[in-house]
Structure formats: structure tokens, C-alpha cells
């Protein structure tokens, strides 16, 4: 109790100096929190924009094995889903790029049809969520499709208009099928192309020599996709099938994500070093300033451990107020940033993720920095004899 009382007395008797320490901790924690939350959010936004409603793992036949057909074993799909809780969705899938779309008198437009084995595939691509539906309604009949809002706007295709899709069979026979556009969707994500739609196998034209060429999988945490992919490999004959992750398919995105993590770490490291230098200098100065008091107390019989406790408690008390102030300041600053960065309609351009993890890490880094700085100063003071301390 005595070290605590002395620590409090030391703080209140040097208010300006201690406010300076608190202020430097506030700045440190605030910046740490701002950078962590901002970079974490941006990293997640990039990941979300590139991996959401998209394939995280693709199991497909090896390109050279043109005659090999991926076994369409639905029990295997169910087994994979049940044995791997990290997998959120799995579907058989065909990716057909040789389709053209004909609308009214416009020239034929190159189009992609993503065929899934059942309606779960719509959920896989986010086409069952109301928020993505920009007009019309979800298809209720086999010959109804949704188009991307961007594609429909570009070619001025209205809801309930009819379009003709032309498929090319492997033997180069052309198959035509008419589909009614019943709505438009926008996932709000970055895409290479918006010329695509998703249909189920039974919506394909009759006579189309169809086979699934892939199994597509989504996982709960796209960053940990490799672990799941390794397990998925055990279900297949890898001499005929290859298992690829989104990181292998779009390595630049993965690289960008890793680069962001490294840059954030380096910025945090440099800020921690800067805060360490500032805080250790001020605390060191404070310990030096109190040398005589330390000497007097030690001469009167206060044990070394209690003297250390006084300064540690002093640092912890200042650190506590600094950390609380820093977190509040950092949060307020981020809120202001969110409010400033808005689209024309007033909606925020970026929604910061105020994850508890960012609060804990920011405080943890600064707490460690402050403690280390204090311990170094105390250690230095402990080495000096009582007589020297009193003479100071």
C-alpha cells in the first residue's frame, strides 16, 4: 500500500511532467490503434473485395487430361463439408467462357456462364442475399436469370426482357436457349468482368454435352486457406486433379495482403521505438529527479523492491490513463475519418472494424514499452548507492 501511496503522491506533485508522460502515451496508443484498425480494415476490405462470393479453393482436372471427367460424387461433397468445419460452402461447377449473349439488335456479346449443381450455388456467389439484388426478383423458373447491374446498365437491358445465350458444345455444335432477365445484382466487389451470370445445371439447353470441370469451395477464413486445401487434397487422386487456392490463382492479392501486414508491423515497430525513447527519457528523468527521495526512503529502511514498486506503479498509473486516453482518442479520430471519407450520398467509403483485438494489441504494445522503459530506469537507479542518491 505504501508504494502505491508514494507513487500517487509523486504523480500529483509533478503534474506537468506526468501530464507530458500521459500525453506521449496517449499519442503512442492512439497512433498504434489508428494504424492497426485502419490497416486491419483495409486489409480485410481488400480480401473481402477479392475473395467474397468467390472461389477460395478450386478442385479441377489437370489441363492435359482432356478426357478426364471430374467424378461428380455428391456423397464426397457432403463428406468434405461434414469433415471440414472450416468450409462454409462447396459446389460442383462449370466455368464456360465460350458463351455469347444476344439481346435485341445488338451484336453478340461475349459472356460467361457459371453453372452450379444446385441452388446452393447461388448462395455461393451471393445471389440469394437481398442486399445484392438491385432490381427485380430472384429467379423462380429455370429459364430466368439475373444479370450484373453493370452489364445490364451498359447494354440497357431491362428487367423481363429476353436474351438468347448461345453455347458451343465440344463438337462445335451451337445450342441456343432463351432466358428472361428477372433482375439485376451488384455484389459491391471488384471483378475483372461483369459479363456473367450463374445458373443451375437444369437450366442449360438440352443436348448440351455437359460435365462439371471443378469443385469450388469457400472457407470461413480465406487467409488460412492453405491448411484446408492440404486436407482437400487427400480426398482426390492428385495425378488427375489439381487443388488450387485463391492465393495461387491471384498471388498478387495475397502478396498485397502480406505486404500490408509487414508494412503495418514495421510502422508499429518504429512507433513503439519512438514511444519507448520518449517515455524512457521522461521516466528516466523522473527517476533521476526523485533520486534524492529514493535515497532518503532507502536510508530510512524502505526496501529496494518497494522503491521499484513505486516507480513501476507510477508508470502503470500513467500508462493506464495514457492507454485509456489513447484508445478514446484513436477511436474518435477514426470516427472522424469515417465521417470525412464518404460517398456523395453520405454513405461511408470505409467502415472501420473496431475489433477488440486492435484495442488489446495497441495497449499491450505500449504497456510493454512503458514497463520496459521504467524497468531500465529503475535498474539504473538501483545500482546507485544510497549515499550517492542522497548527494544527488
Amino acid at each position: 500500500m505504501l508504494p502505491f501511496k508514494i507513487a500517487f503522491r509523486f504523480i500529483f506533485k509533478s503534474p506537468i511532467q506526468n501530464l507530458l508522460i500521459i500525453f506521449s502515451i496517449i499519442v503512442g496508443v492512439g497512433i498504434q490503434f489508428f494504424i492497426l484498425a485502419m490497416s486491419g480494415t483495409l486489409s480485410n476490405v481488400i480480401l473481402e473485395h477479392t475473395t467474397s462470393y468467390n472461389e477460395h479453393i478450386i478442385v479441377s482436372k489437370k489441363q492435359r487430361l482432356t478426357n478426364y471427367i471430374l467424378p461428380m460424387d455428391f456423397s464426397m461433397k457432403e463428406q468434405i463439408l461434414s469433415e471440414n468445419p472450416e468450409i462454409s460452402k462447396a459446389n460442383y461447377y462449370t466455368f464456360d467462357k465460350r458463351v455469347t449473349l444476344k439481346y435485341k439488335s445488338l451484336p453478340e456479346i461475349s459472356f460467361i456462364v457459371q453453372t452450379v449443381d444446385n441452388e446452393d450455388g447461388f448462395a455461393f456467389y451471393g445471389l440469394t442475399e437481398e442486399k445484392h439484388l438491385k432490381s427485380g426478383h430472384f429467379p423462380t423458373e429455370k429459364n430466368q436469370i439475373l444479370l450484373t447491374k453493370q452489364f445490364a446498365d451498359q447494354y440497357m437491358i431491362e428487367n423481363y426482357d429476353w436474351v438468347t445465350l448461345t453455347f458451343v458444345r465440344p463438337d462445335n455444335v451451337f445450342l441456343h436457349a432463351d432466358y428472361q432477365v428477372v433482375g439485376t445484382f451488384d455484389l459491391g466487389l471488384y471483378r475483372h468482368s461483369f459479363n456473367y451470370t450463374v445458373i443451375t445445371i437444369d437450366a442449360l439447353p438440352e443436348g448440351y454435352d455437359f460435365d462439371y470441370n471443378s469443385m469450388i469451395i469457400q472457407v470461413e477464413n480465406p487467409r488460412d486457406v492453405e491448411k484446408v486445401a492440404e486436407r482437400i487434397k487427400t480426398y482426390f487422386d492428385l495425378s488427375k486433379v489439381e487443388v488450387k487456392t485463391w492465393k495461387e490463382i491471384t498471388p498478387e492479392i495475397s502478396l498485397l495482403d502480406t505486404a500490408q501486414v509487414i508494412v503495418t508491423f514495421l510502422i508499429q515497430l518504429f512507433i513503439s521505438i519512438a514511444i519507448f525513447i520518449v517515455v524512457s527519457s521522461i521516466i528516466g528523468f523522473s527517476v533521476h529527479q526523485k533520486s534524492k527521495q529514493i535515497g532518503i526512503l532507502k536510508a530510512m529502511g524502505l526496501k529496494d523492491i518497494f522503491v521499484s514498486e513505486v516507480f513501476l506503479l507510477q508508470s502503470l498509473i500513467l500508462g493506464f490513463f495514457g492507454a485509456v486516453g489513447g484508445l478514446i482518442g484513436g477511436t474518435v479520430f477514426l470516427k472522424m475519418y469515417e465521417g470525412y471519407m464518404v460517398y456523395e450520398d453520405g454513405s461511408p467509403r470505409i467502415l472501420i472494424n473496431y475489433h477488440w483485438y486492435y484495442y488489446i494489441i495497441s495497449v499491450g504494445i505500449i504497456a510493454a514499452t512503458v514497463l520496459l522503459a521504467s524497468l531500465i530506469s529503475i535498474r539504473r537507479a538501483k545500482k546507485v548507492s544510497i549515499i550517492e542518491l542522497i548527494k544527488t
Binding site: 505504501l2 501511496k5 508514494i6 503522491r9 509523486f10 500529483f12 506533485k13 534524492k292 527521495q293 535515497g295 532518503i296 526512503l297 532507502k298 536510508a299 530510512m300 529502511g301 524502505l302 526496501k303 529496494d304 523492491i305 548507492s385 544510497i386 549515499i387 542522497i390
Partner: protein
């Protein structure tokens, strides 16, 4: 009734430096009686303060032994030494060395807090009574920077005595005071000695009336050259 020995100092030497050695104390042998009032005098650099620091365990001797009530301070661990100081010794320094963060009353109570004693109303009243005794009850809530030099030193005296120590060590307690304040402090120390029967060792530069003490020890160049008992 035979007098009891409180401090036994045997063959104490203190040397500073490794390449060039400077002997500050040379073979000091001394016994101090319990309840006695002792002066140590000598010129600057004669080793008075070093001797006091070694007796109190604040400094270590190069060789020799100091025992207080049969306890060899050198053989104690730093924590045991700290506890021994807290329970048995009171210090009065030349520059009062009060804690600037505490008022006079809290400064006086500090040794009791270090001894882990409960500070209740009765203890506070005792401290206030002691302040009255040393003539500073009117500044009990003043901080050191709000007190005169004499008041500060009286506070330091009250702080040294409140814990009921076996021994009070005073290192030039009047070195920073004018002559009238210095005389007043000496009178106070003598009065407290009479009242509390505590052993005092007082280092001084000032001309003193040795009859106002039990013993006068004179140091010169680290050697005890004169030992007069009154």
C-alpha cells in the same frame, strides 16, 4: 548498574580507489554505550561522515566489523539491513532531506509507514505532540518549501525520533543553519536525549560545548586521535 554497549566498532578501515588507494578510515576501534550522547568532530575529510555511514550500514567498510546490539550489519542481506535501519535507526542529515511531496506531519510519519505500522488517530496525535515538543506544531500541514531552514531541520529531528530508534545518527545537522538556529537545534537534540534516552551520534563542525554531551570523539585523517568521556 553497569552501562550496556550498543555499538562495537572493531578494526574498521575504509579505502577508496583501486590503483591509487586513499585510506579514509584507519583501524577505528570504538564502543558506544546505550543511551549516550556522542559528538564526533574533526576537520573536513577526516572521515566523520564515512564512519557514520558505515555505522548505519549505508556504506560498507573495507575491513573490520560493526555490531549494533550484537547484530553485524555486514552479514545481513540488503533487505534485512533495510529492515534493521527502519526499526532501529533514525537519521538527521545536514540538508534536512525531507520528502518535498509530503507535508511536515506526513514526513514525520514516514518512518512508521516504512515500519508498516498502522497510522491511526492516536499515532497522528503522538506525531503532533512530538511536533509541539520540537516547536513546529504550527507548520504541521506545511510542505518543506513552505518552511524555514530551522523548521525543516526540526521536522527532520522529529522524523528521526518518532519510530523510537535505538540510535540516532546526525550528520552535521546544523551545517545549513545560522548560529542561533544551530544552537536551538543542539539544545533540542540534548532535550530529546534527556527525554527519550536514545543513543545519539552527532557529527559537527561547529564549536560545541562538549559538556553538553557524554563523549567527544575527534578524528583526524581517518584516525581516532582523541576520545574524551565526560
Amino acid at each position: 548498574m553497569s552501562k550496556q554497549t550498543l555499538i562495537k566498532i572493531k578494526d574498521i578501515t575504509k579505502t577508496y580507489g583501486t590503483k591509487v588507494k586513499t585510506a579514509v578510515l584507519k583501524d577505528i576501534n570504538l564502543e558506544i554505550e546505550k543511551g549516550s550522547f556522542n559528538w564526533i568532530v574533526g576537520a573536513s575529510g577526516s572521515g566523520k561522515t564515512t564512519l557514520l555511514n558505515i555505522i548505519s550500514g549505508l556504506d560498507a567498510s573495507t575491513s573490520g566489523k560493526v555490531e549494533i546490539e550484537g547484530v553485524d550489519l555486514v552479514s545481513l542481506t540488503p533487505n534485512e539491513r533495510a529492515r534493521f535501519r527502519a526499526n532501529n535507526l533514525g537519521f538527521i542529515f545536514q540538508f534536512h532531506y525531507l520528502l518535498p511531496e509530503y507535508n511536515a506531519l506526513d514526513n514525520i510519519l514516514m518512518p512508521l509507514r516504512i515500519q508498516n505500522k498502522k497510522i491511526d488517530k492516536a499515532v497522528k496525535q503522538r506525531a503532533l505532540d512530538l511536533m509541539k515538543e520540537v516547536g513546529i506544531d504550527h507548520v504541521h500541514d506545511h510542505y518543506p518549501n513552505q518552511m524555514s531552514g530551522g523548521e525543516q531541520q526540526r521536522t527532520a529531528v522529529a522524523r528521526a525520533i518518532i519510530g523510537g530508534p535505538l540510535l540516532i545518527l546526525a550528520d552535521e545537522p546544523t551545517g545549513n543553519l545560522d548560529s542561533s538556529s544551530a544552537e536551538a537545534v543542539y539544545q533540542l537534540l540534548r532535550a530529546l536525549h534527556q527525554t527519550y534516552k536514545t543513543t545519539f551520534i552527532v557529527i559537527t563542525h561547529d564549536k560545541i560545548n562538549p559538556a553538553k554531551g557524554d563523549r567527544l570523539l575527534t578524528l583526524k585523517d581517518g584516525v581516532l586521535i582523541k576520545d574524551v568521556i565526560y
